[in-house]
Symmetry: C2
Subunit: 362 residues, 2 copies
């Protein structure tokens, strides 16, 4: 009996991160070609021409039957694609019911209405002993006319394992203006959008920052047997219209030239800074640039991993953060984080050091 | 931007293992209580009574609004449960279409009919260069009246990453008699069954070995906020009616007594042996025995992991092995295994060594 801890924990991580049954792989086209190459190599390595292989040594009549099973497999994959289409329809149908509740949540969070006594009957923290529940109320701050639930979404994002590491100190004052996060299925093209709604603020002009995910729901004609359900084929970000000097996604660094004519002099250079708002970067644009530059395999792999990580965050926001926001706000949903730590991101995206240059933040 | 490889690979493992969007967590009741305790501890540790916590220091009017969001959350979770119910209905609806194709596959695999020329048009291996394809045919064995596709399911099971490690050498002659594997949704109780169909064989009397999985689709009234979709609550195995001396799940070992009155003498003892057929063990029965014996926390955790691993295997068989059997048979689906190795099971379930005893296989 297998009792592999990796299987087990990936199951748990998964069951946490993907609450709704939207199972979308994020395998780009480039991967399916790479897989093909790999398969071909494997087939040769594992000796498809040798006599001890069950495929090559199979009599021709048996081979003919295997070919027939491949035909049946194609039909089966077409039915799967039809199934996923129906799941998408089901999600759209239920979206209306969820949205009605999320709208009420938005009103309460932003002080557009006060809850009824009936609504406010639920205990603050589920399953907490009565004395602990009371103690929570004993330490209540004085009501100084707070509107709604201040900093609600900032607390949610900071307590969700997929988003907490994205948030830098300089992002927090901006995220206090976040009034709602919504997700919607789209049909043309098939996919979904995430929308981050902001109140009027001194940081940027946008009232909504949008991220769009396009899915291919059909099998790839070049690789029909590789079908594993809808694949994310395109991730579109948004352009943040930053107010002057407020763009936290960029920072100016001084670089001391070590070589060449300018050796010893300091030059200033604007580089990317860590920020939650890098989430709105347009990954597709980067893809195109990379294609023009004829990126090598390593670049491709990096771009692929970046897209996969982005998609992971997006589906967690859609399937976990949005439908369970208050549980992240109170911290009740955050214990998963502790039970299965996801590891820290040690990489420094903003690092842009080159040979012969020293970097120093201004 | 998070680019955590664990997130990424768990996503891929998941997208491979769970092709259909059946997202079922396998959290037993005992876990939800443990989680509660943990939450309570965490709440205290993280200082819910202290002034710097956003929940405890929130003014009472803000707390009242949070309580109202908890009411909305409960309604939202009820809609989720209704959604999962509809997904289950959708799976039942599509099952008929898949079953019609799987029945044709069964006929061809077991030689009940020959495919038409139209059916046999698909190439043996997708995407293989023409000369390699031809080479596969050059090495064909002579047709000695083979019926269907010999050892089809044995090859499938050996090339699937969830099942390959379960198969021991002594299982192989038995698994050559496997004629089909089928999966079916059940409604009363809600869940699914796996059925392994065998031709008449000298090893056991059963023609079908069945495994049943019961799911709870509704939120737990004690822990409604912990709802993450249907949970597997019961796993039922089957009783294999082994022919005399054919039970590969047991082995007789000699034990040399080191202490006591029988010191120096050999005693024989029947112990559990590694075997694919342990998959049909009744995990529930073990659970009950354990309850009677008032098992400690470690036993509980072990039982939980055993059930989680079993469920992982079952869903892989249902969502991957059955719908893509021919791709495992040809090895085309097996490359995932290579890309994300799942690790070996180093544990030796059959080991039963005790103090003062030496073990030796007969």
């Amino acid at each position: 009996m297998i009792a592999d801890s990796k299987v087990f924990s990936s199951r748990r991580v998964n069951s946490f991160a993907f609450l709704s049954p939207r199972e979308f792989a994020v395998i780009g086209d480039e991967m399916s070609h790479a897989q093909h190459q790999k398969l071909n190599d494997l087939l040769k390595e594992s000796g498809y021409q040798s006599q001890d292989d069950h495929i090559s040594k199979a009599p021709k009549l048996v081979k003919r039957r295997i070919c027939a099973l491949k035909s049946l497999q194609l039909k089966s994959i077409d039915i799967e694609a039809a199934f996923y289409k129906r799941v998408h329809d089901l999600e759209r149908e239920f979206e209306k019911q969820f949205d009605a509740l999320f709208l009420e949540r938005k009103k309460i969070v932003n002080g557009e209405r006060e809850p009824s006594d009936e609504e406010a009957k639920q205990p603050l923290i589920h399953g907490l002993a009565e004395e602990d529940q009371k103690a929570l109320y004993d330490s209540s701050g004085s009501d100084e006319g707070e509107v709604g639930i201040p900093e609600f979404w900032l607390h949610c994002l900071k307590s969700n394992e997929a988003t907490c590491d994205l948030i830098q100190e300089h992002d927090e004052p901006i995220l206090k203006h976040l009034t709602d996060i919504t997700a919607h299925c789209t049909t043309e093209p098939v996919g979904f959008t995430l929308e981050f709604h902001f109140s009027s603020n001194p940081y940027f002009k946008n009232t909504v920052l949008k991220k769009q995910y396009v899915l291919n729901t059909l099998p790839d004609p070049e690789d029909p047997f590789g079908y594993e359900g809808p694949e994310c084929t395109k991730i579109m970000g948004d352009t943040i219209q930053w107010e002057d000097g407020k763009d936290v996604t960029k920072k100016v660094v001084k670089k001391k030239q070590k070589k060449g004519a300018n050796a010893g002099k300091f030059l200033t250079k604007t580089v990317k800074a860590d920020s939650f708002f890098n989430f709105f970067d347009n990954l597709e644009k980067e893809e195109e640039n990379k294609d023009n530059a004829e990126g090598d395999g390593e670049d491709e792999e990096e771009a692929y991993e970046l897209r996969a990580a982005d998609y992971e965050i997006a589906t967690t926001i859609r399937d976990s953060l949005i439908p369970r926001a208050v549980l992240f706000y109170t911290g009740e949903a955050a214990i998963e984080d502790d039970m299965f730590p996801m590891g820290e991101d040690d990489g420094d995206d903003a690092s842009d050091s080159e040979d012969g240059e020293e970097e120093e933040e201004e």
